[in-house]
């Protein structure tokens, strides 16, 4: 197992190398550079000083040259400095990643907790009105974009229910001046701020998961071993939840393994809609402000997570399915 993981990590090095090239190239291809964005329009800085600063920052070199310099710093652990937030990029990611994680993990757990029983019911009653209802419901969840649903919620719920905040993660007053009620009040404050984004994310995650659960259950529910389980005299519940679901879990685990790392990379657009201070919002802001070092770092971070996710799902696969063994 250990050998397998090491091998997989080593083989992902070239993949990562190519990804960084693409990311760096794309980011550099954006019109405008850091300096112009930083100085803003109507700046009084002379052309001469601009050129000088560009040369100092290395922005006058060709893109491949810049890439090599950037890569060199990346390898030595230096992700650069975000000029908009005036902080090292590593620190920025380290802070905001947990906000994203909080939002995503709650939504994922809620989504799963709802999707598993619903998906199983759908499979058991395949073709019934109930099954069709949930199918339509989850198709909505998959096809309606999160930002659209998010805005609808803000409009219809947030605007009408005064105690549900429509944006941010904390009450701005208390966030700046401290919570008089202590940690419990802070938790409560974050929780109410989470309501709307969590509803949106849970809806879309429920939709995806319930489709998976339903389809993989439908596949196993008519298998011979399910009939064998019934013939043993097991309760129908045991037959479905133990014998059938254990088999249906196999494709689900693959999906989940891929999903776990993305908990950290954030729900990019949704975070912007709800002004949730997560990695996704940081990424969008950094793009808008041409904070290139932050943009590239966020994208590379997502890419690394994606690769880890693939590895994780392969490892998890072997944990639930005895027929699959990973070895070097």
């Amino acid at each position: 197992m250990f050998k397998y993981i090491v091998k997989r990590l080593l083989t992902s090095i070239p993949v990562l190398l190519i990804i960084t090239m693409v990311i760096f190239g794309v980011v550099k291809a954006m019109p405008g550079d850091e300096l112009t964005a930083y100085l803003g329009p109507g700046t009084k800085v002379t052309q001469e000083i601009k050129e000088e600063t560009r040369a100092k920052l290395g922005l006058d070199k060709s893109v491949p040259e810049q890439y090599v310099r950037w890569m060199g710093r990346l390898l030595s652990g230096d992700l650069g400095t975000s000029f908009t937030l005036k902080k090292p990029v590593g620190e920025v990611i380290g802070t905001y990643v947990w906000n994203s994680f909080l939002l995503n993990i709650v939504a994922m757990l809620l989504g799963l907790a709802l999707a598993i029983p619903v998906g199983i019911r759908q499979a058991v009653k395949k073709g019934s009105a109930e099954d069709n209802f949930w199918t339509v419901f989850s198709l909505l969840g998959i096809s309606v974009p999160t930002f659209f649903f998010g805005m609808l919620l803000i409009y219809f719920v947030g605007m009408n229910v005064s105690w549900i905040p429509i944006s941010g993660m904390r009450d701005s007053m208390m966030a700046s001046f401290g919570y008089p009620g202590g940690i419990m009040q802070e938790i409560g404050d974050v929780a109410v701020h989470m309501i709307l984004p969590v509803i949106v994310l849970t809806f879309s995650e429920f939709a995806t998961f319930s489709r998976y659960v339903r389809n993989s259950m439908v596949e196993v529910i008519n298998q011979d071993y399910v009939r064998t389980a019934r013939a043993k005299g097991l309760k129908e519940k045991t037959v479905i939840y133990k014998h059938a679901f254990k088999n249906a879990q196999i494709p689900l685990v693959t999906l989940l393994g891929m999903y776990i790392p993305s908990l950290f990379s954030g729900a990019t657009i949704l975070e912007s809609v709800f002004v949730w201070p997560g990695i996704g919002k940081v990424l969008i802001d950094s793009i808008n402000q041409r904070d290139t070092s932050l943009t590239t770092a966020c994208l590379v971070f997502s890419a690394v997570l994606m690769i880890l996710g693939n590895l994780l799902s392969d490892v998890c696969y072997s944990l639930v399915d005895p027929r699959v063994k990973v070895d070097g």
């Binding site: 298998q223 009939r227 043993k232």
Partner: protein, 381 residues
């Protein structure tokens, strides 16, 4: 012969599958008795209702199938007196795997791939008996040894995919026998296995029957298997028992034209190089059963009266019964030219009707195929 004690009495068993085009009569008025320590073989070709009969005993017939009202499946082993056709699901569950257990055709797919062999055997014991887990494991190992698995202590922790088909079938048998059932239903237990393994499994079943006193209901389409293990044989055709007799009696003195046809179509080493006999035609579609004898269109001895009504059950010596007009005492004249034409016309019409309707609505055809798979009657895949 000592007194034969009845353990299962099936009367007028009808299992219909409700399809869009009407009821598909998978089993239509089946009746038989099972006695203690005896092996009953149910023989017939694909789709004749053998598997559905077995499934209905355990209540495993699934939607859209239904055991029709009026059917009786009376289980009387171990002082039970339970009509399984009408029993509640809880009562049925107590019997399943405990009093009556079942082994299936495909051992590789009938075992759950994600649990170890031991888990699956122990589970069966633990549902029905209150035993500690060490005791349970010990019994499972013992059972595996009994069904002829060497190194049972290791095999118990194996997953089904690590075992061969024959081993898996032995595991299935061990599982089925784990609670000392009174009745073991074996639904084509050897079909998926190669011939040498078949012989071993049959021998094993015979030995275990003698040892434990379990009655066996053997479902098969292989007359060779029947001759090896059965005491009594029921021949089924299109959901009905057409002939029922002691195994010796049946092989030496078959009466029903269908049975005769089956015997004739067995390959024999003695007739070297001869062309194998076949019974022409196919089983009628169970949704469109004819008014007369279901076998009439394939029968070489078809009479005019065979097309007009259902044949009576004729009792013969030694409990041998056959349901065929040939033996009803009336004169059996060969069909004359006019009769033959009528027969041919009626049959052509029947076939045309069902063929037309089948093509009318492709959906129905698909549903029928689906049904065949889910009810398990597609036994000879």
């Amino acid at each position: 012969m000592s007194k034969r004690e009845t353990i299962l009495d099936v009367e007028n068993l009808r299992v219909y599958f409700h399809t869009k085009k009407g009821d598909s009569k998978a089993v239509d008025g089946n009746h038989f008795r099972m006695y203690e320590k005896e092996t009953l073989a149910i023989v017939g070709e694909s789709g004749c209702g053998k598997s559905v009969t077995a499934m209905s005993i355990l209540g495993l017939v699934s939607e859209p199938g239904e055991i029709m009202p009026g059917s009786k499946i009376l289980y009387t082993g171990n002082d039970y007196n339970l009509d399984l056709a009408t029993a509640s699901i809880d009562d049925k569950r107590k019997v399943r795997g405990n009093e009556i257990s079942m082994i299936f055709q495909e051992p590789m797919t009938a075992l759950n791939p994600v649990f170890t062999v031991g888990d699956q055997i122990e589970e069966n014991i633990r549902i029905h008996e209150d035993v500690s887990s060490e005791e349970c494991r010990k019994r499972a190992i013992e059972l595996l040894g009994k069904v002829g698995i060497s190194r049972p202590e290791q095999v118990i922790d194996n997953y089904p995919f690590q075992l061969s088909g024959g081993m898996c079938q032995r595991v299935m048998i061990a599982m089925a026998l784990s609670c000392n059932p009174k009745l073991l239903i074996a639904d084509e237990p050897t079909t998926a296995l190669d011939v040498t393994i078949q012989a071993q499994i049959l021998k094993l079943m015979n030995e275990l029957k003698d040892e434990t006193g379990t009655s066996i209901m053997l479902i098969t389409h292989d007359l060779g298997v029947v001759a090896q293990v059965a005491d009594w044989v029921n021949v089924m055709y299109a959901g009905k028992v057409v002939e029922s007799a002691d195994v010796r009696e049946l092989f030496t003195n078959p009466k029903h034209p269908y049975t005769l046809g089956l015997m004739a179509s067995m390959p024999s080493l003695a007739q070297n190089g001869a062309r194998l006999n076949v019974i022409e035609g196919t089983v009628p579609n169970p949704v469109y059963l004819p008014e007369g004898c279901y076998f009439a269109d394939r029968c070489t001895k078809c009479q005019a009266r065979c097309l007009k009504g259902q044949p009576p059950v004729i009792e013969m010596p030694n409990g041998h019964t056959v349901s065929c007009f040939l033996y009803d005492g009336n004169e059996n004249e060969e069909l004359d030219e006019a009769d033959r034409r009528t027969v041919a016309e009626v049959l052509a019409m029947l076939n045309k009707d069902s063929a037309d309707e089948a093509f009318d609505d492709e959906k129905t055809v698909i549903i029928d195929i689906d049904k065949d798979q889910t009810d398990g009657s597609g036994g000879d895949r």
